[in-house]
């Protein structure tokens, strides 16, 4: 009540930032920074201000600052976000809590260890698989705009891993292959040029593949690229179930 209103020149905002320096401490701590508030700043701008002018030891990842490289994912007030696309004005004047992405081990401060995701990415075989490669001289594989549309949104994944941070199943069962990996597998399964659907379905139709998913749906909610990984997983489940049914009812129908 007796607080003077902050003038434009001196408006500040408080950031509570997760710190973990393995050479100094065995447990993480939180460090509070009060920094200038700017109407058009994103959380990443605030972190850069801290690193440049206040505390150069704060470690975090970033690069493109336009939401396409996927580097800057962090928990902002408990919600996985890209800090380059999260505006301070949506939180001001309340403090903002910044932590590394949930469900991943922390290497240092706000930087997580990505090894698990990188392994899962390779595991689902995210490349065009064909029985027979056409020569380049034959020109492009024809693909109509409708065929492209079938998998296009699944191809938009920027590998930011916000979906893994949002998925409670991945938190409880770390062997779960995860939303982005399944979305990328489906991106190839649905690509008219690909012939590796059988192979990938074998990999996905396991417990730690698609069947661990219980359709919480948070992955799709937090995805900044509108990939809709939850849909990818449910479609894969349907395809897998139908495939199983077909094999059981029509066993002689397989090639």
């Amino acid at each position: 009540m007796m607080m003077a209103e902050q003038t434009v020149a001196e408006r500040t905002i408080t950031l509570e930032v997760f710190r973990y320096r393995p050479e100094q401490e065995s447990e993480p701590t939180f460090q509070t920074y009060e920094i200038p508030y700017r109407e058009d700043w994103v959380v990443l701008d605030a972190l850069n201000y801290i690193k440049d002018s206040v505390d150069g030891s704060l470690t975090y990842r970033w690069s493109c600052r336009m939401g396409v490289c996927g580097s800057c994912g962090m928990m902002v007030n408990g919600v996985p976000k890209l800090t380059c696309s999260t505006f301070l004005k949506d939180y001001y004047p309340r403090p903002i809590r910044i932590e590394p992405l949930a469900n991943f081990p922390v290497a240092r401060d706000l930087a997580i260890v990505l090894d698990d995701f990188m392994a899962k990415l390779v595991h689902v075989r995210p490349w065009i698989i064909r029985r027979q490669e056409e020569p380049l001289e034959a020109g492009e594989y024809r693909q109509t705009p409708e065929e492209l549309d079938r998998y296009k949104h699944f191809s938009m994944c920027i590998n930011c891993m916000l979906c893994y941070a949002a998925c409670p199943i991945y938190g409880l069962e770390p062997e779960f292959v995860g939303p982005a990996a399944v979305a990328l597998a489906q991106r190839y399964n649905l690509d008219s040029r690909d012939q590796g659907g059988r192979e990938r379905m074998g990999i996905l139709s396991t417990h730690e593949g698609i069947w661990a998913c219980t359709l919480v749906g948070e992955c799709t909610t937090v995805c900044p690229a509108e990939v809709d990984p939850a849909a990818a997983i449910q479609q894969a489940k349907l395809a897998s179930a139908l495939g199983w049914l077909r094999r059981v009812l029509v066993p002689w129908g397989n090639k």
Binding site: Y20, P22, S26, E27, P28, G78, A102, N103, P105, V106, A107, V113, E146, D149, R150, P168, G171, L172, T214, L215, V216, G217, E218, T220, T221, D228, A230, A231, Q234, Q235, K237, L238
Partner: protein
């Protein structure tokens, strides 16, 4: 290089609205399963003869059982509505090259539900 692990807390489902309603949705299946048990017992009592059947009906009419059935009905409705809402995720239909909108898939599910309910109601109530 000691990475720090933050395992999921036991109260994870209380930290977020979506997580909470997800767990509620999953728990509805428990209530639905319980309802199925009572239904199966009903069939068994029916086969055991008129006194057993009548006694069971009196039991089902008790306040506790009525309350259970109301709660189980609410759970089943919530279960169905959330299921329908998520149906377009799994079912992608294309008609003449264009994607069928999610709303249409949801509406079709409701329509089918209504039709089946009407048929069952007619069968049950006409006698």
């Amino acid at each position: 290089m000691r990475a720090y692990s933050r395992p999921t807390e036991f109260n994870w489902w209380l930290t977020n609205r979506t997580y909470f309603f997800f767990v509620v949705r999953e728990l509805t299946s428990v209530l639905i399963a319980a309802y199925m048990v009572f239904l199966l017992v009903l069939l068994r009592r029916l086969a055991a003869g008129p006194e057993a059947y009548a006694a069971y009906l009196r039991f089902l009419g008790s306040p506790g059982m009525l309350l259970f059935h109301l709660v189980a009905l609410a759970a089943a409705l919530y279960h169905s509505i959330t299921w329908f809402r998520l149906a377009p995720m799994a079912i992608t239909l294309r008609v003449r090259g264009r994607r069928v909108p999610g709303a249409t898939v949801v509406a079709a599910n409701y329509a089918a539900w209504l039709v089946v309910s009407l048929v069952v109601a007619w069968i049950v109530l006409r006698s």
